[in-house]
Amino acid sequence: MTFRQARWDEPAVWDLAPPRTAEAPPEISGIPEKLRRKEAVRWPELSELEVVRHYTRLSQMNFGIDTATYPLGSCTMKYNPKVSELLARRKGAAEVHPYQPEATVQGSLELLWRLERVLSRITGLPEISLQPAAGAHGEYAAMLMVRAYFRDQGELAERTEVLLPDTAHGTNPASASMAGFTTREIRDKDGSVDVAELRRAVSKKTAAFMLTNPNTAGLFESEILEIAEAVHSVGAILYYDGANLNAILGVTHPGRMGFDVAHLNLHKTFGTPHGGGGPGAGVLAAGEKLGPYLPVPRVVKEGRKFRFDYDRPKSIGKIKAAYGNFGLDLRAYAFILSHGEEGLKHISRRAVLNSNYAASRLGKYLPRPFRSLVKHEFVLSGTPLKERGVRTLDLAKRLLDEGVHAPTVYFPALVDESLMIELPETESKRELDGYIAAFERAISDTAENLHAAPRSLAVTRVDEVRAAREPLLSWKDLRAASAKAETP
């Protein structure tokens, strides 16, 4: 199969129509002169069809899961069921205002409550909040909860440090730091937490240890119970980053592993779309220690009625307007209903099976830096490519020419020239074999062709260095740049 992405010579939206002479918007009585806009917003007046064609053409220059295999490690790019899209657009879901009287939104409340209850069973943690808009937002809220908890314990002054493994996602240290903690990385041993080093590092200064399990090297942290013991021995909180939950559904859960608080990404494990970068939906799950600190409002059931409860004196308050990304919550609920207990277990078994199968096949081409048994994703090192004057980046770009998406590259940072591959449970064996064949063709290609890739997409290799060195960040910048170019 030869892959060709659409290559439209499509102008920018503002170049579709001739520039208008500035005209003032209609006057609104009572608005004083100094607050009136003197010229209408500078934006083109277009027909609906022109707009639709423009964005349709742009869409054809974009890769989605529906376009091709999308093996981005740590992103869990599984199929987004169409039925969820249908349901999220129902009038009873979309045309509901968050501040309607509770009596008129019993359905939304019940859906949130049911989703919370089932996520509680999946995580093994009793208290749930659906308020965070994304995973990192959940991490941040959890770190604020940790802060509030230690304030109540009278230990906030000494609990200043959050520990993380060196395999942690970048959002973990960033979230801890925004919540006012300093961060310290614990070095890994063969891709897993070095428990001896963790034991040396924990102290009365430790507020929390943030851990992803399986971790970003694709390895299950087998010493998780020892890790939990070490963290709890100094009274610190063990935090679960749920980005990789897709590997362990029904096998274990954060509660059983000893985590005190967790976030999940509904847009990874529970099939809601990633939206080209969002919206996501985070979930906070907490045990008894941190449960009282979850954001308000909480959804409660009283008899057959549901209501919001704001009366939680220890709560950190709000982290976002309204209650969370309801449209995504609904999609995730439909996803969980569709799978049921056995289906959810099957997800992880199949995702891990796909991953180990692809790892064993691709391990023939590039070294695997850690042990062979992996979970839902695996890491390869592109170091040997360097002998041919080729880098991991070139291989990633060459893969795009095969009509498949590239893996995550240069993460985790502890592996030189790393590639991280995740092939979720919705990829069939045919697709896996197709991906492996594409990988074989790409890596066997000449250095020249690898450097020249990609050639079959809307654009060739994009100059990212130039983008950062001479930032052109809006139409306004483009206008200024072209005015400057025209000045002799």
């Binding site: 920018a12 004083p32 100094k34 806009r37 917003v41 277009l46 609906e48 639709v52 423009h54 974009n62 989605g64 999308y70 987004n80 879901a93 509901v96 939104v105 939304s108 859906l111 999946i122 093994g124 808009a133 937002h137 941040y140 970048g170 960033a174 730091s177 006012g180 390895l219 299950f220 559904l249 274990t252 859960h253 099939g271 939206g275 080209g276 970068g277 969002g278 308050g317 709000k318 976002k320 307007a321 990304n325 449209g327 209903l337 569709s338 207990e341 056995e342 199949r350 891990v352 048994l373 064996k429 697709e431 990609p454 809307a458 654009v459 060739t460 983008a467 960040l473 306004k476 910048d477």
Partner: protein, 460 residues
Amino acid sequence: MSRWIPDESGEEASLLEALGIRSTDELFTDVPKRARIGRMGVGPARDEPEVVAEVDRLLERNRPLSKFSSFLGGRIACRYSPAAVDAIVSRSEFYSAYTPYQAEASQGMLRTLFEFQSLWVEMTGLDVANASLYDGATAAGEALLFCRRLHEGVRFLVPASLPWEERSVLENYASGPGLRVEGIPYDDRTGRLDLEFVRAAVAKKDVFGVLADVPNGFGLVDEGVPELKGILGDVPLVVAADPLSLSVLEAPGNYGADVVVGEGQGFGIAPSFGGPLLGLFACRKEHVRAAPGRIVGATLDTEGRRAFALTLVTREQHIRRSKATSNICTNESLMALAFVVYASVVGPRGLARLQASLAEKARTLASGLGSIEGLQAPRFDAPYLGEFTVELRRGTADEFLDRLRRRKVLGGHSLKDLRPGAASDAERVLVGIPESTSEKDIQKYLRAAQAAIGAVGRTA
């Protein structure tokens, strides 16, 4: 078993065979026995018609806005979204994509985000916009942290009339670095900010930023806001603006705003019980390296073609980790797409006409309510656009709204609900004007209000 997990006969067996194992159990030997669980307690799988029926059963317990004459608003707007917007948002090349890390494969979303950034720049009069944040409230929170990177100090001033939700979000953002959020008092006749309070606070040299919302939590356009920057000097000014209002109001960048944030939901995004929303953020170019969130930049490909990529990434968490300007990773890209498609379909003149029409309906309703004995509307002597405040001279706002609801009118928000604990708020209702509001809806509100306040009077 899920039909989305491919299960062609023998498929999994051949995968197992290739690995030389008999069962997927062998793939989980790294999970210690003591960490294993039994059943989770999730129900059985349902097929697609059953899932549709179950979700519909729940949604039927909602009464959507179309069942009422609704006057709900606040930061979440009820506007019509042309079908073309959802048609584009529904294209799975967009919605099933990840963050555009691989620029060459993602030019469609990158160009869309660049156009979105450009639109917010044009609306605000600033130089740089990011590719979105979670919502208006968290955008204000990020603006708070951004201001602290630009200026020393410990206090961040916000209007005392700011809705409680936003205040609470801001206080959370402030709490990590040990900063404080303080309310600026307002004049209870005009709703205007007390500029002398701001002047005195700034003179103490410990204010690192000031936020003003336009329109504010009472729906008012505060004539004092353009004067703020003159008082603040080099202390950054954040304006939280409703994007629709910017179709007719001066761009805040032109009166000194250093940051403009906003809630973008009203542009092509359904209320959906409050999410997903869209956080807007713009700043000046000289401050871009302190800005939060992803930013798309224009560049070239190797053949000199115009191309786009995520840029200035050294600000971000995946590069800078604990030193990043924000922890944000997943943002609201698809909602940014809806925003720019909506604005392009409606057009700048259409947006201004819509804002003018909402303002006119608001004035009609306010003057009608004002002529009802027992109600004061509009409550404040100040300009407003599509929302205004009513004060009850007797009874409670909750009781009043309950009585309206029995007549199928959702009459607005009790300001006590929007700001629990703000005792000074008397019995006030923030009334919004959804786009669908007809003359009939307005008359229905007036009749219902007359009856409700009359009944309140009798029981009082």
